[in-house]
């Protein structure tokens, strides 16, 4: 189990690809702290994963390992997938996950009460309802009055994430009411034996500050810490990184792009990455070659950002095209026009293109509803990734169930997905509940027995979900309560929605099994969720003034909105389309158009 790099040839071969790119090769050869500032499409994930494989194979010896923290579960899964291709299999030596799961599984769960940060003896992760109750109690205690306590949530969370050192007078000084609200809210959670998601990095950071032994233990387990999407990971992680890497001996490998920082509204600060790269002990590498977008799109993207970056494309790269679509008739009219006119033209230009290579990105979920309705009328399948999606794409449990469903439909016959992978992923998902080898074996056995019995794509999804829940999931979700609480909420909500009284209506197993995969459906995504993805044809939908940026934006909001626009812009490989109201285009669109002409 220690020999996790099963085949050195795989990454050594892959590394040859990096040799011709000076920046990528420099990062691959780095021996100490290294910060990679990587523009869009510059192969940062590729560089990171190959370097990761090299570290595990050549530099870090068992029993020590490498931890990789990334923005969300989706990114973690992507990294895992790529590492598997390089011969790196998950093991005790490798951690890949979010800053929340790092905090929870590497700090809070293993050491609990010994950390001295007020963790209850047995704690679990609060459900949304439990968080609401705690906030309500705290609000009545600290603020009072007739307003809806839940409205205080956003401000409280932001304050909590941004002001980390509570021993300083500024903690209460900046905004006493918010500080007291946070304190009361946390007190109510703890009294109920709960922590919430924001608690995870905050408590972990406090634990690291207070306990030298904990810092030493983490350095022992993970002499190297890799961080992907650094610009979006927030202050708590930044302080953890500074403490562990610059004061306790851990080595840092950070990758990010401040221009693509789009989570400022929940407490991310693009300057933190900049600060990191300016430290004397850090080797900074800039990846400026864009392998993704056509040369014209790269050029236009600098107008989109409003900053000159000097990014280049490889020789012989296609130019790509930027299209402007001033539309009328409200957003339903825009959506209709897209399917009736724009899409047929795209298909005519690109006969090989499948719907899966098209991405429609928008700034708000209700715009997704408009497009989804139009898609249905025109007979196109869609995969949605936004707040109104059937369930969050980042849910590991739902993604695993999709795989199970796919196996029940056809997988048992054609071996895709492979059964062993389903069992392995399930075992990892429920690892907290499956402690012994016997339990793991038993899990695999009963899973197979259940799936074999329900292998029919005609199954009603609601029944199928209820049966698998009754037969297998419910006890696992209860025991795995601490790590799977959020997954359970997602699961229950989804079951309700596809049930007889739900808003989605009847859904078949076959339809569900295709949710996560398949190239036959168009991708619908919020601009935020499009981070890290790429599409041959990218459509930016609803690029109107008042949405991009929003009405009444401050100067800072405008800068943040501009970065979001830039992120959407740089998802495109060959065609970038901007759809907007003819009479009210976003100033960003106008600027790009003017400068291109």
């Amino acid at each position: 189990m220690w020999l996790i790099v099963s085949n050195r040839a795989l990454y050594l071969k892959a590394a040859e690809d990096l040799r011709s790119n000076d920046g990528q090769w420099q990062a691959y050869e780095s021996k100490d702290h290294c910060v990679v500032l990587a523009g869009p499409g510059s192969g940062k994930t590729k560089t990171l994963t190959i370097k990761f494989a090299r570290l595990l194979s050549e530099e870090i010896e068992a029993p020590r390992g490498v931890a990789c923290i990334t923005y969300n579960n989706e990114c973690a899964r992507e990294l895992e997938h790529r590492l598997a291709g390089l011969g790196v299999e998950p093991s005790k030596r490798v951690f890949i996950g979010t800053v929340h799961s790092f905090s929870l599984t590497q700090i809070l769960l293993p050491y609990g009460r010994s950390l001295g940060v007020g963790l209850p003896e047995e704690f679990s992760v609060a459900t949304l309802q439990q968080q609401r109750t705690a906030l309500e109690n705290a609000y009545n205690e600290v603020v009072g009055g007739p307003a809806n306590p839940q409205n205080a949530r956003f401000g409280m969370d932001f304050y909590r994430r941004s002001n980390l050192d509570r021993t300083k007078p500024e903690w209460r000084g900046r905004d006493q009411q918010k500080a007291l609200l946070v304190e009361a809210y946390e007190r109510h959670l703890r009294a109920a034996g709960l922590i919430d998601f924001d608690d995870m990095p905050l408590l972990a950071l406090r634990a690291l500050r207070q306990n030298k032994w904990l810092r030493n233990a983490l350095v022992a387990k993970f002499p190297v810490l890799a961080v992907d999407e650094y610009q979006d990971l927030g202050r708590a992680l930044h302080q953890m990184v500074v403490g562990l890497c610059f004061h306790s001996g851990m080595r840092l490998l950070a990758v990010g792009d401040a221009d693509q920082s789009i989570y400022g509204f929940i407490g991310a600060y693009p300057e933190l990455l900049q600060k990191l790269s300016e430290r004397a002990e850090v080797e900074t590498v800039v990846l400026g070659l864009n392998y993704r977008c056509g040369s014209l799109i790269v050029e236009a993207s600098e107008y989109a950002l409003g900053e000159a970056r000097g990014y280049q494309v490889p020789e012989n790269a296609a130019a790509g095209t930027v299209y402007f679509h001033p539309l009328t008739g409200g957003y339903s009219g825009h959506a209709d026009h897209f399917f009736s006119t724009i899409l047929p033209a795209i298909e005519a230009r690109n006969p090989e293109l499948t719907p899966g290579q098209i991405g429609i990105l928008y700034p708000a979920a209700f715009l997704g509803d408009e497009i989804a309705q139009a898609a249905e009328i025109y007979g196109y399948g869609i995969i949605r990734t936004d707040a109104n999606a059937l369930y969050p794409r980042s849910s590991r449990l739902m993604r695993w169930l999709e795989q199970c469903a796919a196996w029940c439909c056809n997988g048992w016959r054609n071996g895709n997905p492979r059964w062993t992978r389903i069992v392995a992923e399930g075992t990892r998902l429920f690892s907290e509940a499956l402690a012994t080898d016997e339990q793991k074996t038993e899990f695999g056995r009963s899973l197979l027995a259940h799936m074999w019995q329900h292998r029919d794509s005609q199954n009603d999804l609601f029944d199928w979900l209820n049966e698998i829940n009754g037969a297998l999931l419910s006890p696992l979700l209860i025991i795995g309560g601490r790590t799977l609480a959020d997954e359970k909420v997602i699961f229950d909500t989804f079951v309700e929605r596809v049930g007889p009284n739900g808003d989605v209506g009847k859904m078949g197993l076959g339809q569900f099994s295709g949710e996560g995969a398949g190239n036959d459906r168009i991708n619908l995504s919020s601009l935020h969720s499009a981070k890290g993805r790429e599409f041959d044809v990218t459509v930016l939908f609803g690029m109107d003034d008042g949405r991009m940026p929003r009405a009444n934006s401050t100067q800072a909001d405008i800068i943040a909105a501009r970065r979001l626009f830039y992120v959407g812009f740089t998802r495109a490989r060959t065609e970038l389309h901007m759809a907007f109201s003819a009479h009210n285009p976003s100033p960003f669109v106008t600027e790009v158009e003017e400068r291109l002409n």
Partner: protein
């Protein structure tokens, strides 16, 4: 890292053993007290060569005194580890298993108990399961991954070292040779193979040899038939280069003889040498982070001098500390009957096991004994072979010098007591510095008495100090009695004082033993013994005077005569003469005190 505590519950000899440790462990105790079982308990936690099927214990592995088993019956073996933060590899392996209440301590537990929700009293071993977990938290399982990094190797008692050395597969030489060969180019070896082949061919060229070879081959073929023919040849060795390394043998006496010709002792020594080299190698290649080397009864076949030399060196190796370097990645665990080995054992490594009638075997260790540095040095220095006997005794009589050492067994015989039968040793502290010995014996729970001089009143302070010490080390259970003794000490009531301190096992003579005896009932015997000294006329005359009348003024000159003969020799000779005379009461008291307690 070091093992700081072991707790064994309901396993074989042990109802409950719970002792502090200080790294290396030297387990002493009588036969059948559970020394091997203690090693086996450690194997259940740490030995990767033990298959999991061997961790599925049986009902017979429960402590006999437990009575009928029920759903709560559990065998539990817990080992605590401390100082695991110096070596980052060790830290990475162990950090998850810290105790929630004490982050400086890692606990590793083996548990064997009835299946959850069994619903009835367990009746067969099928009803049980084992688990290995850390940090006192049953959800934190550990297994082979940990055992491969922190490994227990056991060298069993009376092993066939010679046989092991001769069998390639079992030989501790094998991994060393394989390691050495791993960096050699096979082509280089081929040349050697060719030369061996040439030598073999030259041998066969001798007519007598080739005749013999033909003869063997023909008769074999006749017996086996062509299908089973193995085509026997005569030669020195297989010559194929990949097999060549297996032909490497360890030779002794500058290569004159094979190891089969070595004495049992040398073979064992060679085995141990190779084994420690192998452990070093494993750690150097980062295939392992810490070795726990358990050796059962290493004294077997080893000459006493060798025992001390070899194990002194091994202990030295495992406790050597170099500034700014992590502690050596080696812990030694020994079981032994040998005072020679005990005499070189680190002071705080002793773990004494003792059988009790109702509670199975219990243990006490010197790990946490409260000694000042000076006292520890003293004790370590004094813990020579004779005094190391203390460890193997059921009871001890501590005395000031050799005279008592020789005479007390004879006095005991007069009382109808054979000290050896009772397992009682008389140990001389060569002076009056009893304190470290008292601490040591109290820590190990060995009953003892002390015979010391009153020294005309100078001894009183020493005696009250010992009383205080005994009470302090046993949790001040007899504080009232101690206060009483302090009270009496302030008066001149010496008889009451003597009687009181005797209850603490301290017995006083008025003066040096020989003086006491000559002034008492042993005058004739002492005179007779002195006369054996064959002194010249001047000193013979002095003896005559004593015979007529011995006074206190004669003390110095009298003791000088004893010294001239030699105190020990004098005592030995006197010992043959004391039959039939009443044993001095304080000596009888000291003997009886220990006899009553063993």
């Amino acid at each position: 890292m070091y093992l700081s505590r072991i707790k064994i519950k309901n396993f074989r000899n042990f109802k409950l053993l719970d002792v502090a440790l200080a790294g290396n462990i030297v387990v002493v105790g009588e036969n059948r007290v559970g020394k091997t079982n203690l090693i086996h308990a450690l194997r259940l936690v740490f030995d990767p060569s033990l298959p999991d099927s061997a961790r599925e214990l049986g009902i017979g592995d429960f402590w006999d005194g437990l009575g009928p088993l029920d759903e709560d019956s559990e065998i539990e073996i817990s080992v605590d580890v401390k100082d695991f933060e110096d070596d980052l590899d060790v830290l990475a392996v162990l950090t998850d298993y810290r105790l929630a209440t004490d982050v400086e301590t890692v606990r590793l537990t083996f548990s064997f108990k009835p299946l959850d929700g069994l619903g009835h009293a367990p009746s067969t071993s099928e009803d049980f399961e084992f688990s290995c977990y850390g940090g006192g938290d049953t959800s934190k399982r550990f297994g082979h991954d940990l055992r491969r990094r922190l490994t227990l190797d056991v060298l069993h008692a009376l092993r066939d070292a010679e046989g092991d050395l001769a069998t390639w597969r079992r030989s501790p030489l094998r991994p060393l040779v394989e390691e050495a060969f791993s960096s050699i180019d096979l082509d280089d070896v081929e040349d050697i193979g060719t030369k061996i082949k040439e030598a073999t061919d030259a041998l066969i060229d001798l007519e007598e040899v080739s005749d013999l070879e033909t003869k063997i081959a023909t008769s074999f073929l006749e017996m086996s038939g062509p299908k089973q023919d193995v085509r026997p040849k005569l030669g020195f060795a297989a010559t194929e280069n990949t097999r060549l390394l297996r032909q490497i043998k360890l030779l002794i006496d500058d290569g004159e003889r094979g190891v089969a010709d070595a004495s049992l002792g040398s073979a064992n020594l060679i085995f141990l040498t190779l084994k420690t080299l192998e452990l070093d190698n494993l750690i150097m290649k980062n295939q392992r982070d810490h070795s726990l080397l358990a050796i059962e009864e290493p004294e077997a076949h080893l000459h006493p001098h060798m025992q001390r030399l070899v194990y002194d060196d091994l202990f030295e190796k495992s406790s050597k500390t170099i500034a700014d370097q992590p502690k050596p990645p080696l812990s030694i665990i020994l079981t032994t009957h040998s005072p020679h080995i005990a005499s070189v054992a680190p002071l705080r490594s002793i773990l004494l096991l003792r059988a009790t009638p109702d509670d199975g075997s219990v243990g006490q260790s010197t790990a946490t004994i409260d000694l000042t540095n000076d006292e520890a040095d003293d004790l370590a220095r004094y813990l020579d072979v004779t005094r190391a006997e203390m460890l193997f005794a059921r009871g001890v009589i501590l005395v000031e010098g050799d005279a008592e050492k020789f005479l007390i067994p004879e006095f005991a015989a007069e009382m109808g007591v054979t000290l050896d039968e009772h397992g009682i040793s008389v140990c001389s502290v060569a002076g009056t510095h009893f304190k470290p010995y008292v601490k040591f014996l109290e820590a190990l729970g060995i009953p003892f008495s002390v015979i010391t001089d009153w020294d005309g009143g100078y001894g009183q302070k020493r005696i009250t100090n010992i009383v205080h010490l005994i009470d302090d080390t046993t949790g001040n259970a007899r504080a009232a009695e101690v206060a009483k003794i302090d009270e009496i000490a302030a008066t001149d009531d010496y008889e009451a004082f003597d009687a009181k301190v005797a209850e603490f096992g301290i017995f006083t003579n008025d003066e040096t033993l020989e003086v006491d005896l000559i002034k008492g009932d042993f005058k004739d015997q002492i005179i007779a013994t002195l006369r054996e000294g064959k002194f010249g006329p001047k000193r013979t005359k002095r003896i005559d005077t004593y015979e007529a009348k011995y006074t206190d003024d004669d003390k110095k000159a009298f003791l000088a005569l004893v010294e001239a003969i030699g105190k020990g020799r004098f005592a030995q000779r006197l010992a043959t003469r004391i039959q039939g005379i009443a044993v001095p009461p304080y000596i009888a008291g000291a003997i009886q005190h220990v006899v009553d307690r063993v």
